[in-house]
């Protein structure tokens, strides 16, 4: 039995019907979110039974607005960015029916937070060089290795993990993608303090971690293809959000400029106007990307948007310190903390300047993004490679 996916009017009717039965004020948030998932009103473009109704993705925003207007509890997406942005679409695309059943509902409700175990000390831009080993062991796998740059690892119930399962073949072919239970006794999470003084990230040491074979995503040896799908989702998530004019870091500096005529100089004025125009161009590019996604035609502009976002944040935060002059010499607080989200506007200008340095490194360095644009979009030839046909175990490390 199949029925046509609901249109906008039908979706909105279902939201109203749902709210009539589930009063947000009288329902425990967790129960409300579970019921919303079961009604197919969580992510409406997901299939029926998995939190959606197979509706067009563009209709999600309208559904979210209706729930927000009714005072419904949210699923705190900022706490589960990896889960919602990367793990969920990967599970949907590559997972078994049992995996989708098990993982997607508590992921969406925020009951289970997810993190990502991809990068390693020896595998950053060259992710496929990773050395964490997963060895077949009876009805499961045993994993040993070290991962790094893992945000939310200390709160996560599960991780998406890529590990080497066959060192005897060239590196892109010998990896497998898993779901790792972060409560396994072999998982050791240690905060990784960064230049801002905080520890948004962790190092994760994996020692004899047991993973049942049912927690494998995709075929053994197919980990690279699955990971690439995950990373494409990440870049769309980083670059493709809509924002109002002056909605980003430029708004902070523009407000400072208006408030403090005493700080103004001709050179900084020219610089501010240049960055204001650049920020507006970047904002419109992000908006155009969002419009493309809404009609289901995602363009490759996501890579351009992330490149621009990193450069702008770095230049604008640098300008802010110069503008502040003496006050730019201060810093708010070097205390080691473990924030659960990054908010550029909440901390001091010095924090913004330092944190922005990560923008051109995390989620694909700007240099790797340029390679991707050049090779995949413009079709330019790859550089000659030394690692293409050599078994991973024989590569220089």
């Amino acid at each position: 039995m199949s029925t046509a996916p609901p249109d906008e009017a039908e979706l909105h009717r279902r939201v109203r019907d749902f709210l009539a039965v589930h009063d947000p004020a009288a329902t425990a948030p967790r129960d409300f979110l579970r019921a919303r998932f079961d009604a197919g009103l969580a992510w409406v473009h997901y299939p029926p039974g998995l939190g959606g109704l197979g509706a067009p993705r563009a209709l999600q925003a309208g559904v979210d607005r209706l729930f927000a207007a009714a005072g419904a509890p949210g699923n705190q997406p900022e706490r589960n960015a990896i889960g919602l942005g990367m793990a969920a679409p990967t599970i949907l695309a590559f997972g078994t029916d049992a995996q989708k059943e098990r993982f997607l509902r508590p992921l969406w409700t925020g009951e289970e937070i997810w993190c990502q175990l991809f990068s390693e000390p020896g595998a950053g831009s060259d992710l496929a060089a990773l050395a964490t080993r997963a060895v077949r062991d009876g009805d499961g796998w045993t994993v040993d290795g070290q991962k790094v740059w893992t945000s939310m690892a200390h709160e996560a119930r599960f991780a998406i993990l890529v590990a080497r399962t066959d060192p005897g073949v060239p590196k892109h072919r010998g990896m497998t993608y898993f779901v790792c239970d972060m409560t396994d006794p072999g998982v050791d999470v240690r905060p990784l303090r960064q230049m801002t003084g905080e520890a948004e990230f962790n190092e994760v040491f994996l020692t004899g971690v047991r993973i049942p074979d049912e927690h494998r995503l995709g075929a053994p040896g197919d980990g690279w293809r699955v990971a690439m799908a995950t990373l494409m989702n990440e870049r769309v998530a980083i670059g493709g959000h809509a924002a109002p004019r002056e909605g980003g870091m430029i708004g902070v500096v523009a407000a400072l400029w208006r408030d403090r005529p005493d700080l103004r100089t001709p050179g900084l004025h020219a610089e501010l106007l240049r960055l204001w125009a650049d920020a507006e161009a970047a904002r419109l590019t992000g908006e155009r990307l969002r419009q493309q996604l809404a009609v289901g035609a995602p363009g490759p502009e996501g890579s351009a948007a992330k490149l621009a976002f990193a450069r702008l944040n770095q230049e604008i935060s640098g300008l802010e310190l110069e503008l502040l002059a003496e006050d730019g010499l201060r810093y708010d607080d070097w205390t080691m903390r473990r924030p659960t989200e990054v908010d550029f506007t909440r901390r001091s200008p010095g924090y913004r300047y330092l944190r922005a340095k990560g923008n051109s490194i995390e989620g694909g360095t700007s240099e790797i993004l340029r390679n991707i644009i050049a090779e995949r979009i413009l079709g330019l030839p790859a550089e000659p490679r030394a690692d293409k046909d050599v078994p991973w175990k024989d590569l220089p490390k």
Binding site: A277, Q291, A304, R370
Partner: protein, 352 residues
């Protein structure tokens, strides 16, 4: 937020124009045209007029196509790609926008009226080169007017008014000057007690220049995109040291940045065209942002096109110089990027 994508109608319009320009306006034709006396490609201009694409924003009641500046912006992208030597900017954009703002759309139907201002004029500039006598006759000089050689009517700002002048009348002298951009001819216009008819107020000129800045950005986008394409094609086939030069990161990363800049140009151009089409009060900001971005993007694309083609790109027998000359001239036209950023100081409340 306005629609930043292209409609099916716009896609069809683009495809039709691209086919026409490929057939009649390939770069060897354009290069050959630069050494002829004819100031523009009259046959191509006639075809464009027949198609109706020179009167897209003119209402049907006034004999136009009843479309908008959005569609006209797509036309400019295609003309920019081809560096087509037609008076579209001076007549179908600046002239038409001035006539629409002055409330004289009937004169815009055949896109034969050209706005007589120096091409470098930014929106809002004071124009005091011509004065009107009490009897309405005009005297003065306007230098570096784009497309004046194609004008059946010159639209001349003088004092607080906008005047229509017949370029063939006594007291009017239009003298072509040698221009850096060989594909958009410039003329000096001298008026000596020339007969003129007042058709509107000087505010129409500011409106025309603002719309012009928004639309010129589309031409710059088309040009930048074409330069990027030509360069990418070339570096894939040019071998040095046993490898295509396009396999070196030193070139790949610059081309990736250029591509990103073109992707941004498309977004700002669509926004500016949408604002022009709907009369959005944000048009001055949109036009300034579009010019600040696209002037630089087009110049960079053309300069990289020359550089990455190496020696052949420096020759007369390669189209790169046609693009470079157009791009650099266009970056000076209707206000430099710096002037548009300076305008943002007032528009966005970021005072010096």
């Amino acid at each position: 937020m306005s629609d930043l994508l292209y409609s099916d109608v716009e896609d069809d319009l683009r495809a039709g124009l691209r086919a026409l320009l490929a057939e009649t306006c390939a770069w060897p034709d354009v290069l050959a045209g630069t050494e002829k006396d004819a100031p523009y490609d009259a046959a191509l201009w006639a075809r464009l007029t027949e198609m109706g694409v020179t009167a897209l924003p003119v209402p049907e009641t006034a004999g136009g196509a009843g479309a908008s500046w959005r569609e006209a912006s797509v036309v400019l992208e295609e003309l920019g790609r081809a560096v087509a030597p037609v008076p579209f900017l001076g007549a179908a954009v600046l002239g038409t926008a001035a006539l629409l703002a002055a409330g004289a759309p009937d004169l815009a139907a055949d896109a034969s009226a050209v706005l007589a201002v120096p091409l470098s004029t930014p929106p809002g500039a004071v124009l005091d080169g011509v004065r009107a006598a009490d009897d309405g006759r005009l005297t003065g000089v306007i230098t570096a007017v784009a497309d004046a050689g194609a004008a059946a009517t010159l639209l001349v700002p003088a004092g607080d008014g906008l005047y229509a002048v017949d370029p063939g009348a006594d007291g009017v002298r239009v003298t072509e000057v040698v221009a850096l951009d060989m594909t958009r001819r410039l003329s000096d216009v001298a008026l000596a007690d020339a007969p003129a008819r007042r058709i509107g107020d000087a505010e129409a000129v500011t409106a025309a220049l603002t719309t012009g800045a928004a639309l010129l950005a589309a031409e710059q986008l088309g040009l930048a995109e074409r330069c990027l394409e030509l360069t990418v094609e070339y570096v894939k086939t040019r071998y040095q040291f046993g490898r295509p030069v396009g396999s070196y990161q030193a070139l790949k990363h610059r081309l990736a940045d250029l591509w990103a800049s073109v992707a941004q140009a498309r977004a700002v151009v669509r926004y500016a065209a949408g604002c022009a089409a709907s009369g959005d009060p944000d048009l001055p900001v949109a036009a300034a942002v579009a010019q600040a971005h696209c002037s630089a993007a087009a110049v960079r694309a053309a300069e990289e096109c020359v550089q990455m083609h190496g020696g052949i790109g420096f020759t007369w027998e390669h189209p790169a110089h046609l693009y470079l000359k157009r791009a650099k001239s266009a970056s000076l036209a209707l206000g430099t990027a710096d002037r548009h950023r300076a305008a943002l100081a007032g528009l966005a409340d970021l005072p010096a």
